[in-house]
Amino acid sequence: MSVLIFLLPIALALGSIGLAGFLWSLRAGQYEDLDGAALRILTDDDVGQAQ
């Protein structure tokens, strides 16, 4: 059972990384325009620049 000493902190740390990521995305305003984000991916603004 001594393996738990490593496994539990690892599990919690991974979870915390996910949580921190979510809180960061929330603060960065990524949830403020959910419909727009889905549509922005369709615009070809970057195509002209690449050529």
Binding site: L12, G15, G18, L26, D33, G36, A38, L39, T43
Partner: protein, 750 residues
């Protein structure tokens, strides 16, 4: 005329020196608009950074260069077909944004904690069935406690604070049993952990919090989106005033910056921003939004004018007589206060249920404890059984039953062009048995329509419509809307009060008053209700008669209401003759005209005294007190600001269909809410005896709780389709629907 716009009141300066401004945008149809708008802004002088929020229909522009003028944004976007207005991020909306972010944070914490604790709990359950040793189990329990206690303390705040508020006001709401259940589950778990017991309930408490928060987040997202769209309308209509400065220059200023004895310039097509009197110039004005009177009034020097009236034909200068508290607007607001205080505060269904539910649960737990104790159990076992009752009855399903239906139903009404503004609107709309309509702007379209369409050659009409797009005149706007024009001509010159003209392929095109186009007007019938516009293309020309027309589906909507057994009445400020004409056309027996705002309220009170639940549908300033006094109220999105601010819901577009949808949708939602309450009650009836007799294990309780929540949520999803035959009708009438409303509803609904 050189006009400088003053947007300084809307510009905010950030800490890093950049300036920013928000605009409400109208005319967004689909995803392509994002790129079109942002590219157009980014190309402007001063390299501003645009960001369009597609969900909220807002444009945020930030810039650092001094040579960028935010007033140019409107000028750049207008030819592309977008209307923008600077948007004052209202304090209330700022508060909303903060609250939704806080809710999301709570949801994230609860989700993180619930997942990790569940991981540990499943291990314990599996271990309990096989060979877990006591030390490992205790360690797992203590780790769970370490995660669960702070997480629940943080994520439970929305419920704890609301429950505290209710208790302080000596009442019970749904959050009281929720808070009690969560905190008792946690306290009991710590107690069980300390006494090396086999079971703890950390995961139940966290799962409950997670589910409930998910419901609240969805509800909040739906409502803040609705509110944003409603606020956009308000700022799109919030009229700016053109102040004549002492040096003769003209500045565009917000209405609230005007002072007594300032002079404002009002051009044709603009609204009077103030109460006051005409100083110079003469014009016809449309008072319909103020008084409901549909025929136009001629004003000259020294005549009084009121805020909200539309200037139709000539440019006038008016002196501000009443600013702020002395306006007619304020007078109506005072009437409003009295009217709304007459309507007793409506108690939400969820809270009404909680009023009976909470005491019943607490009593049940107490009886369980006493029962076990009397039957010879130890004090510890008796208390454990009582707490199990509290946990099992923790109103997970009950608390989801109503909000879930609410979210789904208001979402589907939103897609149909109905924006619910108040939390209890669905419940009150569902109880309606009488609908009272205003006439002008409600049963009739907000813009005038073409009366002699058959006599106008199609190509001339198309030209007229495209020309009309360049005019500020309200009659022109009516033509553009009805003929469905979308692209204006280039280089159009507007001659104030007369018309617009341009030259295409060497031929002159004109739209305006008949003598502007060089022909005699052929007035037919009642001249005060009919306006004549002429269009000229080279040598050809013809006249277009413009008058108030009914909304395209008004007759179908009224017929449907009557067929459904709902009483229909018209109360209008317009004269009796005009009201009767509409009433006869629509087959409405009860119609009254020439009614003052106070009389409308009195009529509604009479109806209420007869035990009727009245839905008031109106748009004018004169309807506002009646909207506040009615059991439920609807306003079109073109309504006066005051009316919208008191209405329970706002409908978009040109059709009355949303009124029917509001009734079917809310009735269906209420039926589902009741079904859900029954489902939750049945779950409790089955689970509570098991808990009372002490046979419910945590696993069973968790399964039962999730199962019932799932069932209730799935049932709530049925609120999505508002069927009935009304939809078939709307498909048929969509063909005759003018274009402007289609993008409006479609755009909002995506």
């Amino acid at each position: 005329m050189d006009v400088s716009a003053d947007l300084s009141g809307y510009v905010q300066t950030r800490a890093d020196g950049a300036a920013e401004i928000d605009f409400a945008v109208q005319g967004i149809l689909c995803g392509t608009c994002i790129g079109v708008i942002e590219r157009a802004i980014a190309r402007m002088q001063g390299a501003p950074k645009p960001r369009l929020n597609y969900t909220m229909r807002r444009l945020h522009v930030s810039w650092t260069a001094a040579n960028f003028n935010p007033a140019d944004v409107a000028r750049v976007l207008a030819p592309l077909g977008y209307t923008v207005r600077p948007f004052d991020l209202a304090a209330s909306e700022d508060e909303d944004a903060r609250r939704s972010r806080a809710l999301m944070r709570c949801l994230a914490i609860a989700g993180f904690a619930a997942m990790n604790v569940m991981l540990l709990s499943v291990s314990i359950w599996a271990g309990n069935a096989s060979d877990i040793d006591d030390n490992t189990r205790d360690m797992f329990h203590w780790i769970s406690a370490l995660i669960a206690l702070p997480a629940a303390f943080f994520a439970g705040q929305p419920f704890f604070l609301s429950a505290l508020g209710a208790l302080r006001a000596r009442s019970l709401n749904m959050d009281v049993p929720i808070s009690l259940g969560v905190s008792l589950a946690l306290v009991m778990s710590v107690f069980e952990t300390a006494t090396h017991a086999h079971h703890a309930y950390y995961e139940s408490a966290l799962m409950l919090l997670f589910f409930l928060l998910a419901g609240r987040v969805l509800d909040d997202a739906m409502r803040s989106r609705t509110r944003a769209i409603v606020n956009n309308f308000a700022s799109l209509r919030a009229f700016q005033a053109f102040r004549v400065n002492t040096d003769g220059g003209i500045t565009e200023v917000p209405v609230k910056a005007l002072r007594h004895y300032d002079v404002v310039l009002v051009r044709p097509g603009e609204k009077f921003p103030i109460d006051g009197k005409i100083l110079s110039g003469s014009s016809e004005i449309d008072d319909s939004l103020v008084t409901g009177e549909s025929s136009h009034r001629r004003v000259e020097a020294d005549d009084p004018v009121y805020a909200g009236a539309i200037n139709l034909s000539g440019t006038v200068r008016a002196e501000v007589h009443a600013a702020g508290n002395d306006t007619l607007l304020h007078e109506i607001e005072r009437l409003l206060e009295t009217a709304s205080s007459g309507k007793s505060r409506y108690v939400l269904l969820a809270d009404r249920v909680a009023r009976y539910y909470a005491p019943a649960v607490h009593l049940g737990a107490l009886v369980t404890a006493i029962g076990w104790f009397l039957a010879g159990a130890s004090l510890h076992d008796a208390i454990v059984a009582a707490i199990a009752v509290l946990i099992v009855t923790c109103p997970c399903a009950l608390a989801l039953a109503i909000p879930a239906v609410h979210v789904v139903a208001s979402g589907s009404l939103f897609r149909r062009g109905l924006l619910l503004r108040k939390a209890d609107a669905l419940e009150r709309l569902a109880e309606v048995d009488t609908v009272v309509f205003d006439k002008t702007g409600t049963l009739t379209r907000p813009e005038p329509g073409i009366a002699n369409r058959a006599k106008v050659p199609a190509d001339l009409l198309a030209i007229a419509a495209r020309l009309a797009l360049s005019s500020r005149h309200p009659l022109a706007r009516g033509i553009a809307v009805e003929a469905g024009a979308s692209s204006p001509f280039d280089n159009v010159v507007e001659e104030s009060g007369r018309g617009v003209r341009t030259i295409v392929d060497g031929e002159e095109l004109r739209l305006g008053s008949p003598d502007f186009c060089g022909i005699d007007a052929d007035y037919a019938g009642d001249a005060s209700r009919l306006s004549v516009i002429a269009v000229r293309h080279g040598a050809r020309c013809c006249t277009i008669q413009v008058k108030q027309v009914l909304r395209p589906d008004a007759a179908a909507c009224i017929a449907w209401l009557k067929q459904t057994g709902i009483g229909v009445e018209i109360l209008s400020g317009d004269n009796l003759h005009a009201v009767n004409e509409v009433a006869v056309k629509l087959g409405i027996e009860a119609a009254q005209g020439g009614i003052k705002p106070a009389e409308k309220v009195r009529r509604l009170e009479d109806l209420r005294a007869q035990g009727r639940r009245v839905l008031m549908v109106g748009d004018g300033l004169n309807d506002a007190p009646a909207l506040a006094a009615a059991h439920a109220s609807l306003s079109p999105s073109t309504a006066a600001d005051v009316s919208q601010s008191v209405a329970d819901a706002i409908f978009l577009g040109d059709r009355l269909q949303p009124v029917c949808d509001a009734i079917t949708g809310s009735r269906r939602a209420m039926r589902l809410m009741r079904e859900n309450l029954w489902l939750a009650a049945i779950y409790n009836i089955l689970a509570v005896p098991l808990a009372v007799f002490g046979v419910l294990t945590p696993l069973l309780a968790a399964a039962g709780m999730s199962g019932s929540s799932l069932l209730v949520t799935l049932n709530a999803l049925r609120a999505r389709d508002i069927d009935e035959h009304s939809i078939k009708q709307s498909r048929k009438s969509r063909r005759s629907q003018p274009q402007i409303s289609a993008p409006l509803t479609a755009g909002v609904g995506t």
